[in-house]
Symmetry: C2
């Protein structure tokens, strides 16, 4: 039986869904994977920090945060700096779920570096850390004999990186094509139903899918950083979102959407990347797709990626109806795999 | 560096594609996976058997069989019984690629049992062995400390079993839905283009997709044994193809196909299975699907399976344009994984 102390950096929808999932799977983790866990630290943006070497009362932590109260109730931890938290939390695994920084990946990179330096496994849902420091963090993890996993960075909890790591040995990825941004896919779908772009954006903001500034989604930045993440890791070719040829969906008018619908087609924000020797051509742009394409049926916040490799001509992964629980599952899978792969 | 001696039982299109793939990936296996291999035995139905403890000349074996000659040229091995071959071949891994026996899974089960008894890893593309002896063979493999892998039994080389084994820990499969039989999917597609059922069957026979007796495909037996294989392994609920509620495609007339096409729909032979406590409801039957379904765009010999689990609401795997090389890759992946998982 392995004993794992978990530290959660981020306790929003995903972090709280992870804690619930951990509770639900607690017996299975013990019986099937011989993993016993405690949560020894939780760091939040708005509800303070909590640390306890013997394990926090996570039910109480959930209740406090969900009723808008501070974690100070369950642990009188004085610090408010996230990096100090990683430096001092007594843990074996850091789960890093802070917001993405497109420009330089900080402070996520420092969080993960510090965790690995302290001999923790480093698990993150943060794409910024991958596109700006994949090689450094991977090398550090290897040197420390710890795992650096990040399944939830792309397509929520759908297994993409673990698929290539474990289920597709001796395979070279040559190209990929997919729909990777939920918000724009939902916006385009609602425009097909006659809604204006502005109202569709508002709807996505209301349900918590889009931020107050929706440009990260509608200008293709989120899709671009996902392409960059996939290319960096799966093709082994470092790529930043800034290097992706990027066009968002602002140019797609209701008239274009209606015309496409009449012709039985759909506008989709399509991501592509193609290896060309040691370089890669990558693009995010709206495309018209027809029913004969696997991209056509990908509705709402669902996503798809089609891989072309040197061993399987075409392999696609489709994730339907994701939510915070799905992202949380990717983190749980990373945690279990970090323990059993170590 | 691990030294692996491979024995191939079956040297048709898939077996020969595997040998070519092994040659192509030889350097990568050494460098990345520290696997050195020799092929010490090949058993064929029509071209004799060959065994050599120091490794056969596989280029020559390919040339001989592809020019219709006997393997007797490269190894004067007197036996012609496949079980004797498994009993006597000096090997660490058996690759079992014999034809499927729907009724009782033999002789594949005996081949795999004997291989495991002799401390070999047992790898097969044979669904019959799974639906009739999954538990026994798994337990034997575990007792012997060897691996029993069978990725190529369903959806050619697409990672399905390895996905659940390694990339989806702590996940319960609740239901599945898919298109798993290439021949009927291609037949229905050709009927959409105006071909008769009979001519479409003939075409599938010409390209080597359907057998002389096409009933295994058109009556839904192949789809049923694939459903039974998935349920047996991934749900842990033993199921035989005989227990699957099965309807083939013979009742689908050209008129029905044309009418569906006019309405923008398609007939597909759809496989479903749903867990119901400790039992399962499973079915193979033609269904009308619309463009909003991910099954709609699955054309020709491609296939899809959509999984519903307790952790990911919906995860689909789509394999496009499979062929003997794809099935061969599934066997290669099993071989690599057997060595690195042991």
């Amino acid at each position: 039986m392995s004993q794992s102390r978990l530290a959660l950096l981020g306790f929003g929808n995903v972090g709280r869904a992870l804690v619930r999932l951990l509770k639900r799977k607690e017996a299975e983790l013990k019986e099937k994977y011989e993993i016993n866990f405690t949560v020894t630290g939780i760091a939040t943006r708005r509800h303070g920090f909590a640390i306890s070497p013997n394990g926090l009362d996570i039910e109480k932590a959930l209740a406090l945060v969900e009723s808008g109260q501070s974690l100070y109730e369950i642990s009188k931890y004085p610090l408010t700096d996230s990096l100090d938290f990683v430096h001092s939390v007594p843990a074996d695994v850091l789960i890093e779920i802070t917001p993405v920084n497109l420009q330089n990946g900080e402070p996520a990179i420092s969080h993960l570096q510090t965790a690995l330096d302290r001999n923790m496994h480093a698990i993150t849902a943060n794409k910024g850390a991958i596109v700006h420091a994949y090689r450094e963090l991977s090398e550090l993890a290897q040197a420390k004999g710890r795992k650096f996993y990040f399944e939830s960075t792309v397509m929520d909890g759908a297994p993409i990186f673990s698929l290539f790591r474990s289920a597709l040995p001796a395979t070279q990825l040559n190209s990929l094509r997919g729909i990777l941004n939920s918000t724009t896919n939902l916006i385009l779908g609602r425009m097909e139903d006659g809604e204006s772009f502005e109202d569709a954006v508002k709807y996505c903001q209301q349900i918590g899918l889009a931020e107050t500034d929706p440009s990260i989604d509608v200008d293709g930045w989120d899709a671009a950083i996902k392409v960059a993440t996939l290319v960096t890791v799966l093709m082994g070719l470092p790529l930043t979102p800034q290097e992706v040829d990027r066009t968002g969906v602002r140019s797609i008018t209701p008239k274009m959407v209606a015309e496409a619908k009449e012709r039985g087609k759909r506008w989709k924000l399509v991501c592509t990347a193609e290896r060309d020797g040691n370089t890669v051509k990558s693009r995010v742009a709206p495309e018209l797709v027809s029913p004969s394409s696997p991209l056509y049926s990908v509705e709402g916040s669902s996503s798809i990626v089609e891989f072309h490799t040197d061993t399987l001509s075409s392999l696609s992964i489709v994730e339907g109806n994701p939510g915070p629980e799905t992202t949380a599952y990717g983190l749980l899978a990373d945690f279990i795999n970090a323990i059993r792969d170590q």
